[in-house]
Every structure is written in C-alpha cells, then in structure tokens.
C-alpha cells in the first residue's frame, strides 16, 4: 500500500453560460492540472458543464454548523430588509 495519497480537490462546475460555478463533489489528483482532467472524466461525461474550477480541499475555509445561531442571528430582527415588509397601496401600482 502506497502512503503517497493524492490530495483531495473540491470541484466546481459552471453548468451553462451565464450561471455561476456550483460545487459538484470532490476527487483525488496529484496536481491542479490533473484535478481538472479528472473532473472532466468524473463530473462532465454528459456535457454537464462549460467550465471547471478545482481547489484543494485543505485550502477551503468554512463556517461551522455550531455557528448557526450566532452567525446568522443578526439577520433575524431585520425583516425590513425584505421588500414585503412595506405595505404599498394598490393604487400606486407595481413597485
């Protein structure tokens, strides 16, 4: 058994022109170039994308689930950020 494990990469694919890249999964590859080639074989066998991003998983910073409360709390009491907060009379028309 080799201990020479290939690093893990997270793969993001732009499904079509005009859309943003979306996370589709991960894979192992020795370097960025091979990560893109492997991503083509693993995630776009049926023309699922027009552009691929690969980033080493270890380079990703993520919020943790325990933060759920405190991280998003400030948004809870600011309902006025949504347009539906305001009542606009019907006679004003579309706004």
């Amino acid at each position: 058994m080799s201990t020479n494990d290939w690093p893990l990469w997270e793969i993001f694919i732009r499904g079509a022109h005009g859309l943003s890249h979306r996370h589709v999964g991960s894979l192992h590859a020795p370097n960025a170039e091979m990560a893109i080639k492997n991503a083509r074989d693993v995630y776009t066998r049926r023309k699922e994308g027009v552009s691929i991003w690969a980033i080493e998983s270890s380079a990703i910073a993520a919020s943790s689930p325990e933060d759920k409360g405190s991280l998003y709390d400030p948004a809870d009491d600011k309902v006025y950020r949504h347009p539906t907060f305001f009542d606009i009379p019907d006679e004003v028309g579309a706004m």
Partner: protein
Amino acid sequence: MYAQMVKSTGAGVKSLDEMEPQERAFQERINAGDKIEPKDWMPEGYRKNLIRQIGQHAHSEIVGQLPEGNWITRAPTLERKAILLAKVQDEAGHGLYLYCAAETLGVTRDELTKMLLDGRMKYSSIFNYPTLTWADMGAVGWLVDGAAIMNQVPLQRTSYGPYARAMVRICKEESFHQRQGFDIMMTMAKGTDAQKHMAQDALNRFWGPSLMMFGPSDENSVHSAQSMAWKIKMNSNDELRQKFVDQTVPQAEYLGLTVPDENLKWNEEKGGYDFSQPDWDEFFDVLRGNGPETTERMEARNKAWDDGAWVRDGMMAHAAKKKAMKVAAE
C-alpha cells in the same frame, strides 16, 4: 443492495425519550426530513454504519466493472463496444462519487481501497458470478442494474446529504445502463434460435443472483430497523425484491423469455407475483468468499492496485518537483 447485510453497531432502536438531548435533536432532524451534512454532529453508530454502507456500495461499483470489462474487446459491433465502454466508465464514476461521499465521514479513499483489497470490506455478491456470453451483458444491464435502481431511487432521499447527492447523479446514469441491457436482450430474443437460447440461458443464470442482491429477509432485523430509523435504508429487502419481480416479469414476457421459477404466479389479492426465494445457502457461501469468480475478482483488483503503484507515486513525485521549481522561481 449493492450494500447487502450491512451490520449496524446499534443494539436496537432507541425511542426519542431514551436518547440524550444531542442524539434526540439529531433524530428529530432526521424525522423532520432534514439532511445531515459532514460537519454536523452525528452518533458514532450512524457514521460507522454509513462508512460501511457507502464503502460497500462504492466497492461494488468498482468490482462491478470486471464482469463487463470482460466483454469490451469482444463486443459484436463497434457501436456495442463504444456503448459498453461508456457504461463501464460510468461504473468507475459511480465508485468515485461514492468514495467521495464516504470520505466526508472521516475515512480516506485509500483506506477504503485497502480494506477492499485485504478482504475486510465486501462488495455485492452479484459480481462474483461469471459473464459467459454476450447475452450476459444484456442480463447484467437489464437485471443487475434494474435491481440496483430499485434500491438507489429511494436512497436519493437518504438522510446523509453527500450520499443523497451522489445517488441523484448515479440514478440519472443508471437508467441508461438498464436500457442498454434490455436493448441487448431484445436484439438477442428476436434473433436466431441460438441467440434466443443464449438470452434465455443468461436469464436462467442471473435471475437467482439478482434476487439475492436485495439481501435476505430483514423484517425482524434490528440492524435494518436502526438503519431505517436513521433513513440510510429506505425500504425492507423483501419490499424491494417484490417490486423488482413485479416490474421484471412482464418485461421477460415481452422478450418471450421464461423466468426460471415454476412457482411464479400472479397473486391478484396482493397485487403482485408469488415467487420462489433464491438459494440462500448459495448466497451465504458467496459472501464467505466462495463465489465462482471471487478469487479472480480480488486478484484483478489487487493486481490493478499493485501495477498502478508506480503511476501514483510518479505523479506525486512530478507534482512535488513542479511545486519546488515554482517556489524556487518566485
């Protein structure tokens, strides 16, 4: 189903009231249909069980390439060959989606591979049977992939997010696999007497092993009850097997082939077919490692891993060298 007989670590299903607050909150999320994501808290049993199940499923996809790979060079036409190649490549892809889902649970792909190669982890019993004729390519696609779909479609709703998302991708592609198998069967069944005979022979040999894919009855199994409570198993083995038989028998009739079961009979009352159980002694014997092709499959996987070692190491060495050169240049 690609994961048969996954033993859970739990002793039985706890009621919500018996659970500690953290576990109770977890179970309530599952009951409410929430997805569990990699960094969320989860009971150790849930994590271990999922690693076994997803790992076994991934190994089945990888080992499952071997019986079909056997026929790539001998496909009857260039078109059939290209289609079979694409199918086998999909199986490799399915293995990779699943390994990547398993890795989010804290096990590496190389660790899982090692456990497959030294026999600590299993793959589906079905892939220990030989593929003797081209008609077997039809039977494998039609029956084996058909049985797999039965299990995988509900797993798209499983509670573990990465597993559910892998299943969505897999199910999209599986339907191509089953249709290509049925297409082979249709061609053979409409062909010469010899071809029709081959198609019937393939059905005869793959019928029982396909029914075994769902695993033995688990109506009274605590393992299954726990997995179902965790929503990592969505239906009982018998339920899925019945569904598979009900769907497949009319397809066999369409082909003009005979399902090799003299007890097969439509049961109006239950709205499904009565059928014979497969040979469970044979099933357990195959699981113990005595399948007709078990030794060959394990040898092929070990050989591929060993022969590929220089490529894996060489690629890493090349990547390290390139990185060092880039650092030196900066």
